[in-house]
């Protein structure tokens, strides 16, 4: 039996507070991603976007949320009720789970304790991210299947096959990176980048492939086949209404936030402050840690902007084009990148 006195209760409390903060931050960021999406879409189409709710329309996400909550909740008679509710819950859950291993910043000192701004420094961090992200497609699959609607089912199947195809290229592109870092822990990867250069300088092709696959994993345009409005009539969440629909839409934005965070961590130095030697300014203490978090957030914001920018530029791929791109272009490229990286590493260490 575990002796309760040996558990570090303060550590538990500290982690709980950190989890609460990170979850609420990612929800707020997801909320304002919807606002950014609408605003950027409008600007790129020579419009102004939402500007009535509050100054510059910044209360628009709140209004949208309230609207979704007050909508009528409809569960189709012919649907599988349990799975119908499980679908959006799973989508949301997996979206939130990923943020556990992302290092949000360096250590900070509070009340004489050193607090790591990472919920769990797992030594297989990146594998965990992959596992949880591939679970995310179950939300889409279950929702699409349990709706008992042929369009939803088609969309869910498309989504699943798309995720499987792109996960391969994503994994292979990442292997090249992992051969360089020699570690799966996200914290170690960030620390290596802080000591030398960002990984994107060594692995630009791997980053490009990873980025394209991240678009596909988040179901973002040009890979939003599973919610193609024009062909599949909203896709897998066609039968959903009220906050269940909101959960699906929200999970997409949370996913976008997390995948931006993962990309920033893996390729752009995480919480590293560019052109700045952190080790030389260790006397700044907590301010240095907070500055790192701010830098990380700016990197994430830039990624989110690029995600949205691409969405409002590129039309959707046809299904065969999507599969061709995934299997015939990205996977060979990723494989070649992996082989070349391996060769170069062997040659350098000879």
């Amino acid at each position: 039996m575990i002796n309760l006195l040996t558990i570090d209760w303060i550590l538990l409390l500290e982690k709980l507070i950190l989890i609460a903060i990170i979850v609420s931050v990612s929800l707020v960021v997801a909320m304002y991603e919807t606002y950014a999406e609408r605003k950027i879409a409008a600007f790129m189409q020579d419009r102004r976007g939402p500007n009535r709710a509050g100054p510059f329309g910044i209360l628009q996400p709140l209004a949208d949320g309230v609207k979704l909550f007050f909508k009528e909740e409809i569960i189709p008679n012919s649907s599988n009720k349990v799975l119908f509710v499980l679908g959006p819950s799973l989508a949301m859950l997996t979206a939130m789970l990923t943020c556990a291993v992302v290092p949000w910043g360096g250590d900070i000192n509070l009340f004489g304790r050193t607090i790591s701004l990472q919920i769990a420094d797992v030594n297989i961090g990146i594998l965990y991210v992959f596992a949880v992200v591939s679970l995310g497609i179950y939300g889409v699959m279950i929702g699409g299947w349990s709706s008992n609607n042929k369009y939803s089912l088609l969309a869910a199947l498309r989504g699943a096959s798309q995720v499987i195809s792109y996960e391969l290229a994503m994994g292979i592109s990442l292997i090249a990176l992992l051969m360089m870092t020699g570690s799966l822990s996200l914290k170690t990867i960030v620390e290596q980048q802080m000591a030398s250069h960002w990984n994107v300088l060594y692995q630009p092709l791997a980053f490009l492939i990873f980025f394209v696959c991240a678009l596909a994993e988040c179901n973002r345009t040009p890979f939003d086949l599973s919610e193609a409005e024009s062909e599949l009539n909203m896709g897998y969440h066609q039968e959903y209404s009220s906050m269940k629909l909101g959960f699906y839409l929200f999970a997409e934005y949370v996913n976008m936030f997390i995948s931006s965070a993962v990309m920033a961590t893996l390729f752009f130095g995480g919480y590293d402050i560019p052109f700045f030697n952190e080790a030389a300014h260790a006397d700044w203490g907590n301010w240095l840690g907070l500055l790192g978090v701010a830098c990380f957030m700016i990197k994430i914001a830039i990624f989110i902007f690029v995600f949205i920018w691409i969405r409002w530029t590129v039309p959707r791929f046809r299904y065969d084009q999507l599969m061709n791109l995934g299997w015939k272009k990205l996977i060979p490229l990723a494989l070649a990148n992996m082989l070349i990286t391996g060769g170069v590493i062997l040659w350098l260490h000879k």
């Binding site: 790129m44 020579d46 409002w312 530029t313 590129v314 061709n324 272009k329």
Partner: protein, 188 residues
């Protein structure tokens, strides 16, 4: 091949090269276009605060006019009702009593004047038919109403505010176009 115009371009049906088929360069070009639009001047007009000027021939809701002393111009001759192709106008005439000279311009006036806005087609024939310059089409839209009854505009709805007691409302109801006309040739 002979083309009708020299603008015709043959379609390029060559299979894509590997670089083209991963789309990156073309997507980048497209993104530059959207980025340029991001900083462009926006075409939106913020409607309730900003309004676009109407064309000089815009035909909005009718108004019953008054003369410069605030007297109603309409004599209930019925020409507008006769001209109306949609048969939207009805009126009842009455005789001006002694002491009402500051209310009505001539001896006869319209005691009741109604336009059914659900029938009206905003053709402007009533304005053309009117010999007394008593009815004309303003730049006001037909406002919405909650029931059909409210679409039958009576004299109160149609009559322009008195220029002597409510000059501001009068100028507003008269519309931009008529105000400009009046500035050029005051009180014809």
């Amino acid at each position: 091949m002979i083309t009708l115009t020299n603008r015709a371009k043959p379609v390029n049906r060559k299979p894509m090269t590997f670089l083209e088929s991963i789309y990156l360069w073309n997507i980048f070009k497209g993104m530059m276009i959207t980025l340029r639009h991001f900083f462009k001047k926006k075409a939106t007009i913020q409607y309730p605060e900003q309004k676009r000027p109407f064309s000089p021939v815009f035909r909005g809701v009718q108004i019953l006019n008054r003369d410069e002393e605030g007297r109603e111009r309409c004599t209930a001759c019925g020409l507008c009702a006769l001209a109306c192709p949609a048969e939207a106008i009805t009126m009842e005439a009455a005789e001006r009593m002694p002491g009402e000279e500051d209310l009505y311009r001539e001896e006869k006036y319209a005691a009741k004047y109604e336009i059914n806005m659900l029938r009206c087609i905003f053709c402007g024939f009533c304005e053309e038919a009117c010999p007394k310059d008593a009815i004309y089409l303003t730049e006001t839209f037909a406002p919405a109403a909650y029931n059909r009854k409210n679409f039958i505009y009576n004299k109160q709805d149609l009559l322009i505010p008195d220029p002597k007691t409510q000059p501001e409302e009068f100028a507003k109801a008269r519309g931009l176009r008529e105000n400009q006309k009046a500035k050029k040739e005051p009180f014809k």
